[in-house]
């Protein structure tokens, strides 16, 4: 059987609300990798697939609360973020999160690469380590703004904070990050 035509988000949502699971499957296919990236980076790590699955089941149940015309992505990510939070709360270990973030690509350059490339690589590693060391809320806001490419308003929606908190926490997080990197760089100058 062939697909006759594709449907956009608005139509898929409208049909899903009426219980059309085929229409919902289109949304699931369309947003799985985005939801997975969010869950993973917000702290679910290896459990991201489970979070995504639960979030989609929950989102279907809550579709009646979805306001027509609003973008689906941030609305879904709000559920994903909440599921991730629940997962983290249920975990006994607190260290898991740090491990996940340190599993990021470090891009170790080849031995013969130019010096500035080596420096850029080192700086990335330091940046990532610094982000992992931030307090939860500050790390989350940076993940939303810069690793999920969400606007301030969307970040506020996803994390369930007022927009003002998104602004102030972003500012605080960037300041702290700069401090952490600067102290790291100073060490390097003195030692090298």
């Amino acid at each position: 059987m062939l697909i006759r035509r594709a449907i956009d988000d608005a139509e898929a949502i409208a049909r899903s609300r009426d219980g059309d699971l085929d229409a919902y499957a289109v949304l699931v296919a369309r947003y799985t990798s985005r939801a997975h990236r969010a869950a993973y980076l917000l702290g679910a790590g290896e459990d991201a697939d489970d979070v995504v699955q639960d979030a989609f089941v929950k989102a279907f149940r809550h579709l009646s609360r979805f306001r027509a015309g609003e973008p689906f992505g941030p609305w879904l990510l709000r559920i994903v973020a909440n599921e991730t939070k629940n997962l983290i709360r249920s975990r006994r270990r607190r260290d898991a999160l740090v491990m996940r973030l340190s599993a990021l690509e470090t891009e170790v350059p080849a031995a013969d690469s130019p010096a500035d490339e080596v420096l850029a690589g080192e700086r990335r590693v330091r940046l990532l380590a610094a982000i992992s060391g931030l307090p939860d809320s500050e790390r989350q806001v940076l993940v939303c703004r810069f690793f999920l490419d969400l606007s301030e308003t969307e970040t506020a929606q996803v994390l369930r904070w007022p927009v003002g908190s998104v602004k102030s926490r972003t500012w605080r997080a960037l300041n702290r990050l700069r401090g952490l990197i600067a102290s790291g760089e100073q060490d390097r100058v003195f030692n090298g």
Binding site: R5, A6, D22, S33, R37, D49, V52, V57, F146, F147
Partner: protein, 264 residues
């Protein structure tokens, strides 16, 4: 204060540049599992069985049997045609759908729909060098095609299009975008049997023959209808970790792969 704001902005762009370098495991396909869970729920709902709550063991068993039976029944009565639209092939921000799409919008100037037509929202022509400074991903230009005759940055730096007016394969168009955020940027309507998997520089790609309809998806998820256009030739889709490329032209697979390999 201004200095502090500058340094803040610098760090922000550094973080954005770091985003594609994050290594994440691939997402599992949850479409089937989610559908199954929802089907079970729907079946329960119809039978008036509570969704949660603690039931005695014998009742739980009975619920399970009823749910399984209802699921089987649902599978049996669901018309085949309705199940079909869930088949969507996703690749690097491009969603492939089987069959013809909505009727293409005629070109505003009345001109023919050729791969050179800039049809994405907010298009701004500029040079390759300018485009490279303007967007947050590396722009790949195939060396074997020479200099592009036109470069367009669309939708506030979301897509860069390189157009080569005269090549041995007729006009060739490349649409490039940041593939790492897993957003859907294009919808394509194709005949699935015309899609084959290929390898370009060690990365998986797709080779699609024959005319296809193409629709651009805006940041808010709505399709830009005006961008619906028929591609005239065949298309090669490939990418690196940082950038995804959609290249169309009237070339064969071997020529397309050679052009892709020359992209720097």
């Amino acid at each position: 204060m201004a200095d502090s704001a500058d340094r803040q902005a610098e760090l922000e762009s550094e973080l954005r540049a770091l985003s594609p370098a994050l290594k994440l495991p691939p997402a599992a396909d949850v479409t089937g599992t989610v559908r199954q869970r929802l089907q079970t729920r729907q079946a329960r709902g119809r039978r008036g069985i509570p969704e949660t709550g603690v039931l005695p063991r014998w009742r739980r068993l009975r619920v399970a049997v009823i749910a399984a039976a209802a699921l089987l029944l649902l599978l049996a009565v669901t018309p085949q045609g309705r199940a079909a639209i869930s088949h969507v092939l996703r690749f690097d921000g491009i969603e492939l759908h089987q069959g013809p799409g909505p009727a293409p919008v005629p070109a505003p100037s009345g001109g023919a729909s050729v791969p050179g037509r800039a049809s994405l929202p907010g298009s701004r022509p500029m040079s390759v060098a300018q485009a490279r400074r303007h967007v947050g991903f590396p722009v790949l230009a195939p060396a074997s095609l020479g200099q592009p005759s036109k470069v367009v940055v669309a939708d506030r730096g979301r897509v860069v299009s390189l157009i080569y007016g005269r090549t041995p394969y007729g006009p060739v168009r490349l649409d490039e975008f940041d593939g790492h955020l897993s957003l859907t940027l294009f919808m394509k309507f194709v005949v699935m049997s015309n899609v084959t998997e290929v390898w370009v520089n060690g990365e998986k790609g797709l080779w699609i023959t024959g005319p296809q309809e193409l629709i651009y998806i805006r940041r808010d998820g709505t399709p830009a209808r005006a961008s619906a256009e028929f591609t005239t030739g065949s298309t090669l889709i490939w990418g690196t970790r940082r950038v995804a490329v959609r290249m169309e032209g009237s070339f064969g697979e071997t020529a397309a792969l050679a052009i892709a390999r020359s992209a720097r």
